[in-house]
């Protein structure tokens, strides 16, 4: 703001001096030139009248020759003064408009507006660098959960698109190179409210620069990075980047899980899906020979996971030398039938279109289905603007790097326990996953489950703390009871209990809750509200514990004090 005022004042110096001089000379001239009053006596204008006259003349209002009609000498001077003052005003106003239109000035205006709104944030916020598919998803999801974020993006068009989106929270955005320390600092890197820096631009190198700059300028700050190559991943990890998301590895891992344990895949898919997304019917991919088109970062990750699961892949790649494709790779793009025949598409069970070109990927899928309509199709979709085409192509599994990155980071931020749970769940066997899936399916309608975290403490579960202090321990089963109907259970499943440094998977209903416990639940939409009600409302919790509706007023409590069966009162 200060900069802005200084720039404005400095640029207005010359125009203002011109205006002052024009007024001074015109006024002085009118005072000096002899005039005549209505009786024909000599009369001279004084400064007051002269200034009054020049004021309305200069602003082209023109009340006329006041107080007495002018002499010819006065008219001559007025003619000159008229042009001088009007031109001086035009010059001054023109200079001001030029300044306002000036690109540098407008940049400064938007920059100072941005820094002001970042400084005005008085709650934790996330600094998102890069507004690609992942960035947009992340900002949208954070805003939907009431979490503030600040965006740096190089492309003004993407920022404009974000402003047009109907977000419930204002997200300040700056058009700048996120890899410079100055823009990161302006976006609140050093602010005590900055919760984490999230580097999800398209370029690994820029993400790396952002991570290292943030780690050097605020070592305590959490840094979450997107990396597409293992090289960059290792580099980021070397200086303590807190979390690195590789969308290709994440997808390949999930894809392998589909073969290994479909139930486990479902658990992952449900818990990490974005709110209100429709629950998709799961189709297990067939085991057999797969054709993989494109051996880039995506292809390599998928091929590695598939070979780990013992599934044979035939690779089609146009640049065999550049991608270091293994022996037996078929040269070509995979968009032509002849290449696909060469890869023996007739006997394959599935095709993976994993090039970095969306049109080619669609072409591969359609050509392959023409040749063998029973194929299981997997396609990589690089740009979210192609959503409609990929949906129309009826592909079994679509991989969007941006969505995968965005979803992972959203989960990590909003639900840190989920990451723990998924890590522990991965070590369990298929049978465990089957039991969990059947439990979760039992409580669901047609939407995926929501997941939430309950922290046992004064802020979130004051009723539990109060009851525990009064010697009435609360078990997990009680909190999962429907506070409106004691015979019913809330449609939710406890997934994880974190007690100090230990994690307990799927805790039993008779587990007694202790202050400091963190619990992860998943369940039907709405179950969270009822659970939070009974965790916070002492009367509701007491009703669950004892089946007695506890009197809430002091008088009634005193009256009913001696009644049996009301030990909490």
């Amino acid at each position: 703001m200060h900069n802005l005022m200084y720039l404005l004042l400095r640029r207005m110096r010359a125009p203002l001096i011109v205006v002052i001089l024009a007024y001074a000379v015109s006024t002085l001239g009118l005072v000096l030139i002899p005039g005549m009053d209505d009786q024909g006596n000599p009369w001279r204008m004084d400064f007051f009248h002269a200034f009054y006259f020049v004021s309305f003349m200069g602003s082209t209002i023109g009340f006329g020759e006041i107080p007495y009609p002018f002499t010819d000498a006065q008219r001559l001077w007025t003619t000159i003064a008229m042009y001088t003052t009007v031109l001086a005003w035009l010059y001054a106003i023109g200079a001001m408009f030029t300044l306002i239109q000036d690109r540098a000035f407008r940049n400064l205006v938007s920059y100072s507006g941005f820094t002001r709104s970042v400084r005005g944030i008085r709650e934790p916020f996330y600094l998102v660098c890069g507004l690609g598919d992942a960035g947009r998803l992340l900002v949208r999801e954070l805003a939907a959960r009431g979490i503030r974020s600040v965006v740096i993006e190089l492309n003004q068009g993407k920022l404009d698109a974000l402003q047009l989106e109907d977000l419930s929270i204002y997200v300040p955005g700056m058009c700048a190179d996120a890899s410079t320390a100055a823009s990161l600092t302006a976006a609140g890197l050093k602010s005590p409210y900055c919760a984490a820096v999230i580097a999800i631009t398209d370029s690994d190198h820029i993400n790396l620069t952002i991570a290292i700059t943030s780690k050097l300028l605020s070592p305590e700050l959490q840094v979450i990075c997107r990396a597409e190559t293992h090289d960059a991943q290792a580099n980021m990890a070397s200086f303590g980047t807190d979390s690195i998301v590789n969308p290709y590895d994440t997808f390949a891992d999930r894809f392998a899980m589909m073969f290994q344990s479909p139930s486990m895949y479902l658990v992952y898919e449900w818990l990490t899906s974005i709110r209100d997304a429709p629950l998709r019917d799961f189709v297990a991919p067939p085991k057999g020979k797969w054709v993989l088109c494109g051996f880039g970062r995506f292809g390599k990750a998928v091929q590695k996971s598939l070979s780990f699961e013992g599934i044979r892949t035939v690779i089609i790649e146009s640049d065999i030398a550049g991608t270091l494709a293994p022996e037996g790779t078929i040269e070509g793009r995979g968009t032509e039938a002849i290449t696909l025949y060469e890869a023996d598409i007739d006997n394959a069970v599935g095709i993976i279109a994993g090039t970095d070109d969306d049109s080619n990927n669609l072409s591969i899928i359609i050509t392959a289905l023409d040749l063998n309509k029973d194929l299981f199709t997997v396609a990589r979709q690089n740009r979210s603007r192609n959503d409609a085409v990929f949906a129309a192509a009826n592909i079994d599994l679509v991989m969007q790097p941006g969505t995968i990155t965005g979803r992972r980071i959203v989960n990590q931020i909003t639900n840190p326990l989920l990451t723990n749970f998924l890590r522990l769940a991965r070590q369990q066997n298929d049978e465990w996953a089957n039991i969990l899936v059947s439990r979760v399916v039992g409580i669901l309608d047609d939407r995926p489950p929501e997941s939430w975290t309950l922290v046992v403490g004064h802020s979130q579960t004051s009723a539990i703390i109060e009851a525990t202090a009064k010697g009435c321990p609360i078990s997990l089963g009680m909190i999962c009871t429907d506070p409106r109907d004691l015979t019913e259970c809330l449609p939710c499943v406890p997934l994880l209990l974190k007690r100090q440094h230990d994690d307990f998977l799927v805790p039993a209903n008779d587990t007694i809750m202790q202050p400091g416990d963190q619990l992860l639940f998943c369940g039907r939409k709405g179950a969270e509200t009822h659970m939070r009600w009974s965790a916070n409302d002492f009367n509701a919790l007491n009703f669950i514990c004892s089946g007695v509706d506890r009197p809430s007023g002091s008088l009634w409590r005193w009256l009913s004090k001696h009644e049996p069966g009301n030990k909490m009162a």
Binding site: L9, R10, M12, R13, L16, T27, L28, F48
Partner: protein, 127 residues
């Protein structure tokens, strides 16, 4: 030689001298105080103020402040003159003249401070 400094010094000193010229004389005697001198002092003082617009240096900011004070005092003097002579029609009585001149005296003080700061700055940056 910095032309901007020359101009500013010129205007700030001219503003002081003009103001001084208006101020000297018997306090309440209208014959001793020329209206043209007051007009010139105000115009020059306004220009000196505008010339310090956008100066980010500390001394520049202080100079802006002192010349703003001078402007304010002079504008007040001019308004008092205008009100008593034209609006209320009391004319330039000794009482009115005394208040106009004492207002310009305040402006004179501000001008002196400006010049002192200017001289100090000049001495400090002598190379």
């Amino acid at each position: 030689m910095n032309l901007e400094k020359v101009f500013f010094a010129f205007f700030i000193v001219l503003s002081l001298t003009l103001n001084f010229g208006f101020f000297v004389g018997e306090l309440d005697n209208p014959d001793h105080h020329n209206v043209y001198e007051l007009f010139a002092a105000l115009v020059v003082s306004l220009i000196a103020t505008v010339m310090k617009f956008g100066d980010r240096a500390h001394i520049g900011a202080v100079l802006l402040a002192t010349s703003l004070v001078a402007d304010l005092q002079l504008i007040a003097a001019v308004i008092v003159w205008g009100i008593f002579v034209y609006a209320i029609d009391t004319g330039l009585t000794p009482m009115v003249m005394a208040s106009i001149v004492s207002l310009s005296g305040g402006a004179l003080l501000a001008n002196i401070i400006s010049v002192v700061i200017l001289v100090t700055e000049t001495v400090m940056f002598r190379r």
